[in-house]
Symmetry: C2
């Protein structure tokens, strides 16, 4: 166990936004919320799974919706408390702690905010090791953990509970409802025992996010290139450097969908990169050839500061570096891969691990 | 208290379909389900509100969705049991009985089916005295009773619970979800004590439905005109006789919306009637002039047999009689009228009680 205070939050938010692969919402907002809560309620305990009892009940919490909207609407925070309590009431068992369901700017620190407000611990693990746009897209689904019971609340105070026959059905109903919540809601889901999570979850992701964020911060202090430092710490590959030449973004069925084009510079002069996203970055092509795809991680960074640029922040003219790095190994098992492979998102190609693509 | 057996069901289903004003789904299917359940589990107790304790909890149950679909998909019945149990579990109190939320072919007899399966009584009252397309459109809403907690289930076994900040918000979320359930779901809602229902509900509607159904049956036996007999028993007005010349029906946002035209015959020769509906009949015009509007009741009957024709059964060439009759007096109070007046449905006219329109 260690304590997370305000200083830790900055690193976690930056690192998680890089793991978020363009999704998980703006890290700035989540960071502010978590810091304010820690200032008011005190530091938050971060536990590893091994430090908890196998029978302890853990209830992950998150925000859901299109990240474009999250920038315009600052969450008050009562919604996530309501969702968490509604789930606890429904299951009839007091949760021992909360955790992140995904790694992403907002959804890595929202559970810390919740934990500070309620005086409960956060567990150092998550269900994706990155961010993905749909509820069933977790290694927990592949590991047989149900997203139900599922609780959802909005800023008005509406509470929805779902007990669905599959995690995909939770996604269908919740996505349908969140569009009526102004496209943003707070959720609690995938409640599980520590024993279940030991087997199915991705361990140590809060600590990994913090390490990545610290790497960026220290590189800036030492006037080293932050992009190179991030690439090294995640065992990644530099895919591209250049300038954003085109952004196409729309809200469709509760998602932020679209793409961006970049014109190469330096070693990439004369090349064009095409990025496609659905809340998160899905596939990268350079001059039409695939160079990285889901479930591997794709991060767009400010080429000077290394700051992660989420899909809603992509703007014409930005100078960026793009890196790709391997997903958690659980994603490469068949039952998990079919949930998030390129074909699921409509791309007619097989998944090839990013390190194989760059091996030549 | 009296017992409802198979013989009562036929009359209730026919009478309720006439009260349903074109909505509440096909009476034939609901009738079959309720009769089968009574045959298997025995007769059902029908109580008046006065026969129950003021503190008893009553949980109404119904089907929700577009009636066009209900004809094609025979409900198995497990969905309504699941919704009812989910609501009871959520409230933490055992319901004493169930009741109809609306009068309509399916939704007047589904609670009887449920009561037979679970061995509980049905209460002789409802929340509309007719059928309406949206959840918040009840005199219970006007009387301050919440539709939340709200439970919904489908044939797959999905369960949704909603605790919304208004009855209108229940409608928004539930309508959004039911479109994903193949446009048909089973619901439990508006749980209330007997004391609350004594003040807010419309009393005696099961008995009224049965009386209307019996009137049709006896008129046929005695070779009297069933349309005239129905008109007399409901204190109604004969608006039109003629032949359906056009039907326009579509599924939109989970509703069956559209209209029908009829060419007059006999005393109505040369006139055209225009009927508009959204699950239920909303407004009637003859040669462009309004002759009856929501919330007054509009029934389209087979001109020979008096059988009610629901919106999904309207067909070109049918020979029909159309009658209109006064809604329950609770609907004419301002708080209730604003929920279901012509303007709510997009018609730019004030409500005029049907008996005033026909007084001249």
């Amino acid at each position: 166990m260690r304590l997370l205070d305000e200083a830790n939050i900055d690193d976690i938010a930056v690192g998680a936004a890089i793991l978020g692969s363009g999704g998980g919402s703006n890290p700035y907002i989540g960071k502010l919320m978590a810091r304010e809560a820690i200032k008011r309620y005190g530091p938050v305990q971060l536990h590893t799974l091994d430090e908890l009892d196998d029978d302890d009940l853990i209830v992950p919490a998150a925000g859901m919706g299109a990240p474009v909207v999250a920038v315009e609407k600052l969450p008050a925070g009562d919604d996530i408390v309501r969702a968490f309590h509604a789930l606890g009431k429904y299951t009839g068992r007091a949760p021992r702690a909360t955790m992140s369901i995904e790694s992403g700017g907002m959804n890595s620190v929202r559970p810390i905010y919740l934990a500070a407000r309620l005086g409960i611990p956060v567990v150092d693990c998550d269900g994706m090791g990155r961010a993905f746009p749909e509820i069933q897209m977790t290694v927990l689904t592949a590991g047989g953990i149900s997203a139900s019971p599922f609780a959802m609340s909005d800023e008005r105070g509406n509470i929805l509970l779902m007990d669905a026959v599959s995690n995909r059905w939770v996604e269908v109903f919740a996505r349908s409802c969140v569009t009526h919540m102004g496209a943003i809601g707070a959720i609690a889901l995938y409640s599980a025992t520590v024993k279940q999570l030991k087997a199915a979850a991705i361990h140590g992701t809060t600590t990994l996010a913090e390490k990545i964020g610290r790497t960026v911060r220290e590189a800036r202090l030492k006037e080293r290139n932050p992009v190179d430092a991030v690439r090294a710490v995640v065992d990644g590959f530099l895919v591209f450097r250049g300038k954003i030449s085109d952004v196409d973004r729309r809200i469709s069925e509760g998602f932020a969908k679209g793409g961006a084009k970049m014109a190469g510079s330096g070693a990439f002069e004369g090349q064009e990169l095409q990025l496609a996203f659905q809340n998160e970055h899905l596939v990268l092509r350079v001059d039409g050839d695939y160079v990285a795809t889901t479930p591997d991680l794709i991060a767009v960074l400010d080429s000077e500061t290394g700051a992660p640029i989420t899909t809603e922040a992509l703007r014409y003219g930005m100078r960026v570096a793009v890196i790709a790095f391997p997903c958690a190994p659980q994603w490469r098992e068949p039952a998990a891969l079919e949930l998030v492979c390129p074909r699921y998102f409509g791309y007619d190609i097989d998944y090839v691990p990013v390190e194989e693509r760059f091996a030549s």
